[in-house]
Assembly symmetry: C2
Homo-oligomer: 156 residues x 2
DNA sequence: CATAATAGTTATAAGGCATATCTGTTATTG
DNA sequence: CAATAACAGATATGCCTTATAACTATTATG
């Protein structure tokens, strides 16, 4: 009974029974933790989740257009612009003109970009191994599979 | 081959193999979908995820203080103020003075608040059943359990 | 060719979240 | 017990994420 002290009004422990009945509640709580840890993990590389994700997709899809990238990231084009701006300014990627379509840019990672991504990605893998340390591979696979099966509903 | 059209540069389908190796990536994608659907679900009640959550916790913990609520929701006190303001303005909750501690407020849901929450919560349950329709109860339990086992790491 | 559609951009706004700071109030402690 | 620390709530402020509207330049279409 360390510091029982002065319990203001009702319970010391807040009852969240109603919310715990919802899967989405657990998803949010878990993701908050993962996200916070990921932010710390990426900080040494001066990357945020969004810039890391964009860089990952550009590295894995050389020549990608901004519209494709925005679509893949599930964000709107205007919001992607500043992300691509930042990666370009840091010379991690280049915006090349597409000869066959002068409206579009072909995004490609530079050598520095690929190198930084390699290091950042290794850190992210370590971060995940740390966070999911007490979760065996089978459970981890089940978790991943269950999550990836959640899909948008068709609007009948 | 419906609309193959004019494939700008590289693939039609963006390769996110690297990202798919991370559980957090699947968590974010899945949560985005759940969150978007939840927003639509709560709209008829003029609730957002945060106001719904706050209301749920106040209904389930009558007399809760704002500090306790903020801590339970994992947000900072200043951000809770506006949420509680909104619920109070809509007369879904009341801020009662705590006689034993004149600094604190005891939050309690009004009858209208409890009624609205009842309806909203039923809608949220329906929303989850819809989203997780193709997931059997065992998988759903495994998912919930795996998610709730993700914990903040001790900073050795 | 006129019009629509597309790629990228700019401007703008709203929501979510954090920090610093302030006012009262309560707790601690020398 | 008076001085100080700690706490509850509130205000101000700023950053990040995301969305929409509207603009330019270019390409596609009827």
């Amino acid at each position: 009974m360390a510091k029982a002290a002065k319990s203001i009004t009702p319970p010391e422990k807040v009852n969240d029974e109603t919310l715990r009945a919802h899967v989405g509640y657990h998803m949010k709580r878990a993701f908050n933790i993962v996200q916070a840890d990921l932010t710390l993990t990426l900080k040494p590389f001066e990357l945020r989740m969004l810039t890391y994700t964009a860089l990952a997709l550009i590295v894995g899809n050389p020549g990608l257009s901004q519209a494709q990238l925005a679509q893949a990231m599930g964000i709107e084009r205007p919001n992607l612009v500043v992300i691509v701006d930042e990666l370009e300014r840091r010379e991690l990627i280049v915006r090349d003109k597409v000869p066959t379509d002068r409206r579009a840019y072909a995004l490609t990672a530079t050598l520095a970009g690929r190198r930084l991504f390699g290091k950042a990605n290794a850190a992210v893998i370590a971060h995940e191994n740390r966070l999911f340390a007490d979760m065996d591979d089978a459970t981890r696979a089940t978790l991943t599979d269950a999550l990836s099966r959640i899909r948008k509903q068709e609007k009948t």
